[in-house]
């Protein structure tokens, strides 16, 4: 598409931007993967009294393992119709349940760790199950959607929606049956228990609310124009 629309000069800028974006995204993902593995799993679960040296070594190993996993992921992506289909499938499995739990964690102070854990786990597993059923040919992609003749990518969107609902629903139900965290522990973490600071002397056009409204108006205007 870039070769079709971008003339000389702009195409160089376009390709440089794409490469920079991919490199930055990859670096961010890799450091997030390493940090989650080393701090949240290795240190928290497997080796609670790990020294700094051991953590650094584990971080390096996790980086290499993450790179190898990424290479393996590229081979899986090769079997998909397009890369965006692959991204969409992965997002419906990981991001949709994750977003459900993050939103609940931010705005629902009754949420408990058990609710969040099982909601996320069942949401991811159910989405992966739906993906697998499609891949193995057990059901057609349109099985998961209310629209006839849906394609692979649209079905993944719908699977993401189902996974979101399963995660959120299960997390709320389990939370009501488990012991909640006291309010003192949640101060500053949950919306209802956070004191929001307001900058009184900032001009109106420098506030996030003003730019949120501008963005919303632009979003609606562009949608109406290109409808």
């Amino acid at each position: 598409m870039m070769a079709r629309y971008l003339p000389q000069g702009l195409i160089g800028l376009g390709i440089t931007s794409v490469v920079a974006m991919l490199m930055a995204g990859q670096a961010g993902n890799m450091s997030a993967f390493t940090a989650v593995w080393t701090y949240d799993l290795y240190q928290a679960v497997f080796k609670k009294n790990a020294t700094s040296e051991q953590l650094v070594r584990m971080g390096r190993l996790a980086t290499v393992a993450g790179l190898l996993l990424a290479v393996a992921g590229a081979y899986v992506a090769r079997n998909m119709p397009t890369v965006i289909d692959y991204l969409q499938a992965i997002s419906s499995m990981i991001l949709a349940p994750g977003v459900a739990i993050i939103l609940l964690g931010m705005f629902f102070k009754r949420l408990t760790p058990h609710g969040a854990f099982w909601g996320m786990l069942v949401g991811c597993t159910s989405s992966f199950g739906m993906f697998l059923l499609q891949q193995l040919g057990v059901v057609q992609p349109s099985f998961f959607t209310p629209i006839e003749g849906t394609g692979f990518m649209a079905a993944n969107f719908w699977c993401g929606l189902w996974a979101w609902l399963i995660s959120a629903g299960l997390a709320v139900v389990i939370s009501f049956f488990t012991k909640p965290r006291p309010d003192e522990e949640l101060e500053g973490l949950v919306w209802a228990l956070t004191k929001i600071k307001h900058d009184e002397e900032v001009s109106w056009y420098r506030t996030p609310g003003c730019w949120a409204i501008v963005t919303l108006i632009l979003f609606i205007a562009l949608n109406v124009y290109f409808w």
């Binding site: 079709r4 629309y5 971008l6 003339p7 000389q8 000069g9 702009l10 160089g12 800028l13």
Partner: protein, 79 residues
């Protein structure tokens, strides 16, 4: 802590000044390549969609102007 940061950053140009230089250089290159493309256009089968609009010149100029604005707005060093 704040004082320490203040002394460390004293006399240093803000990062947006250098962003301005980057935008100006990139804008100049894109505009120049657009002008070259206008003077000696590629054969029709190699031309992009709406080639006659010379988007490189327009967007190169926009980027360069943005660079100049960044440079002028951030020309002062921190005191």
């Amino acid at each position: 802590m704040t004082e320490q940061i203040d002394t460390e950053t004293k006399g240093i140009k803000p990062i947006w000044y250098f962003v301005g230089w980057l935008l100006l250089i990139v804008g100049f290159i894109v505009t120049a390549s657009g002008i070259y493309g206008m003077i000696s256009p590629p054969p029709p089968e190699m031309q992009t969609v709406l080639y006659e609009l010379h988007t490189s010149i327009w967007w190169g100029t926009v980027i360069a102007v943005a660079g100049v604005i960044f440079l002028v707005a951030n020309r002062k060093t921190s005191e």
